[in-house]
């Protein structure tokens, strides 16, 4: 492993950790700013390779729907997120899958969510497609979230996963 590859991995890890923290803390504007203009945020249902153009998903947001989702949270009247649940996640097993103009990375996560309903555990794998902005910092072009239980009934998901 070259020094450059190690630097890139380190940078990608820091990006993923930051994304996780912003999501945990419902830092909606900062989280939204991580996305590119052609972003896709996808949480499939039923299987990890269901075609989102043909099959139902939990979330399949283009950039404009990400913005709508964020604006809705910020109205303070998104009842399922008012008050926002307490959320903390652990992200691990980060791998750099592809280096170059577009970077691809994968990670496993466990999220612990506490709200009036009780404690909900969410777990799965996230895959990221990242790209450099003009200022050389990373942006997210794709985030695909494969919940381990996405073939079974799911609780209301009212935070950024």
């Amino acid at each position: 492993v070259t020094a450059t590859a190690t630097d890139t991995l380190r940078e990608v890890e820091q990006f993923i950790f930051r994304e996780a923290r912003l999501a945990d803390e419902h830092a909606y504007d900062d989280w939204e700013a991580l996305w590119t203009d052609d972003a896709v945020y996808w949480v499939p249902f039923g299987s990890d390779d269901a075609d989102p153009e043909m099959r139902m998903s939990v979330i399949y947001d283009n950039r404009s729907r990400i913005a709508t989702r964020i604006k809705q949270f910020k109205t303070g009247k998104r009842h399922s997120a008012t008050p926002p649940p307490r959320v903390r996640r652990v992200v691990s097993n980060i791998e750099l899958l592809e280096d170059g103009e577009e970077l691809r990375a994968g990670a496993n996560f466990v999220v612990y969510e506490s709200r009036e309903r009780g404690i909900t555990l969410w777990a799965g794998r996230a895959e990221y497609q990242l790209r450099r902005a003009p200022d050389d910092t990373l942006r997210m072009a794709r985030k695909h979230v494969f919940l381990v239980n996405n073939d079974r009934s799911l609780d209301t998901l009212s935070f950024l996963i």
Binding site: A50, M56, T68, Q72, H79, L154, T156
Partner: protein
């Protein structure tokens, strides 16, 4: 044991109806294992020998299409020692083989064979030990219903005033046929199923529960459920209920306005509709839009979506949701799917907030005082429409009163 009639009055219902586990058990017997319940759609098993796992409340059902094309509803339980015979969510097979002792059943439910059969002393078991089945299966416009009661009203008697909703929905397809091909998202809520049932045609809540998305998306939907709306709430009989938005859509007179778009944006679909129905009728259909009808007890035709309610326990319900797909409406179908994904399911811009309400309702109903839930809204302005149905204003509780009347009939007998 509570007497149900004591818990239901014309303008209020007792909180224990939502929270008492013993009442829930009675509901399974008196409603879910008796009346017609929606199970699946023929387009989910398009080919001979296709099957898909379904449910009637907590009951595990396999919907199969046999070699001849006939639909069967079988219970997923081996007739030998009760093991599940089908694991896959869906597939294609003429037979199911129990993994426990290798008993094999055809997709019509017949026992085909059992290993080492000399162990039964020459007694032939095949005739008597088929899979359990839902005794009555009928379909309307491709929607398959099952009833655990061997005798009783036919499906067409059961659907009654709700029949027209299926016709109106199918009419939005240039080929007069709806398809269920997008798969179902399953959304679990910690609430009693009747809180979902009542909410589906509650015209009073949208402006409050969905204010966040209406304001952000600059949606006109909220107005349809306002004090000034000309839309009506309707009791279709048999516990079936409706929010009829057509008066508003007709007043606006904009084809596809109900879908938040215009005919110009969907030229291929509109011309297919004109070819199928003639220009004038196509225009009327596209102005009227899609029905918003709750078919008692578990199928909600939610305009561009279908919801299926599955009660699992007094405090646990799964809402299955999918997008309506229109046969011959390719251009429309993508939009129907994408709008549905945005709106419904666990993270839906609409349904996450409805589900939050169901759960809050359920937690609230545990509180002992005041014991009753109030259903008075619009009692003073109920009226009868030209078809003889009871209707009220858009935000009235006509549907909820209708649901409870049907509930009392079924639970009381």
């Amino acid at each position: 044991m509570s007497v149900i009639a004591d818990l239901i009055e014309r303008d209020r219902v007792h909180g224990s109806l939502y929270t008492d586990p013993e009442i829930f058990e009675r509901e399974l017997d008196q409603i879910w294992y008796r009346t017609w319940v929606y199970v699946g759609h023929v387009s989910e098993v398009p080919e001979p020998n296709d099957y898909v796992r379904k449910s009637i409340g907590p009951q595990p059902v396999i919907m199969t299409r046999d070699r001849q094309g006939q639909i069967h509803l079988l219970l997923n339980r081996c007739s030998h020692r009760a093991n599940m015979v089908c694991d896959a969510e869906q597939g294609n097979s003429s037979a199911f083989r129990c993994p426990y002792h290798g008993w094999t059943f055809s997709n019509t439910g017949k026992l085909l064979g059992y290993p080492f059969n000399s162990g039964y002393g020459g007694t032939e078991l095949k005739a008597e030990l088929g899979l359990g089945r839902v005794p009555r299966v009928e379909e309307y416009k491709g929607f398959v219903f099952g009833s655990f009661a061997a005798d009783g009203p036919s499906l067409s008697e059961h659907l009654g005033g709700a029949t027209d909703a299926f016709d109106r929905l199918a009419r939005l397809s240039p080929l007069d046929e709806v398809e269920v091909t997008a798969g179902w998202v399953k959304h679990r809520v910690k609430a009693n199923w009747k809180m979902l049932l009542e909410n589906e045609t509650d015209g009073y809540h949208p402006q409050f529960v969905h204010a966040s998305i209406f304001s952000v998306a600059q949606s006109g939907i909220g107005e349809l459920y306002g004090d000034k709306s000309t839309a009506v709430s309707r009791d279709l009989g048999g516990g079936h209920t409706e929010n009829d938005l057509r008066p508003e859509f007709r007043r606006l007179g904009q084809p596809l306005g109900w879908f938040g778009t215009t005919a110009e944006k969907l030229p291929e679909y509109v011309s297919a509709m004109e070819a199928a129905h003639g220009a004038e009728q196509a225009r009327e259909i596209l102005i009227d839009g899609s029905p918003h009808v709750m078919v008692f007890p578990n199928l909600f035709i939610a305009e561009i979506q279908l919801f299926v309610l599955q009660p699992l326990a007094v405090d646990q319900t799964v809402q299955h949701v999918t997008a309506v797909q229109l046969k011959g409406g390719r251009e429309m179908n993508r939009r129907l799917l994408q709008q549905t994904i945005g709106s419904v399911g666990p993270a839906g811009l609409l349904l996450a907030d409805d589900s939050e309400m169901y759960e809050r309702n359920f937690r609230g109903a545990q509180a002992l005082r005041p014991e009753w839930l109030v259903l008075k809204r619009g009692l003073h302005r109920e009226r009868t429409d030209s078809d003889g149905f009871t209707v009220g204003d858009a935000t009235d509780e006509v549907p909820q009163r209708a649901i409870w009347r049907r509930y009392e009939e079924l639970m009381g007998s």
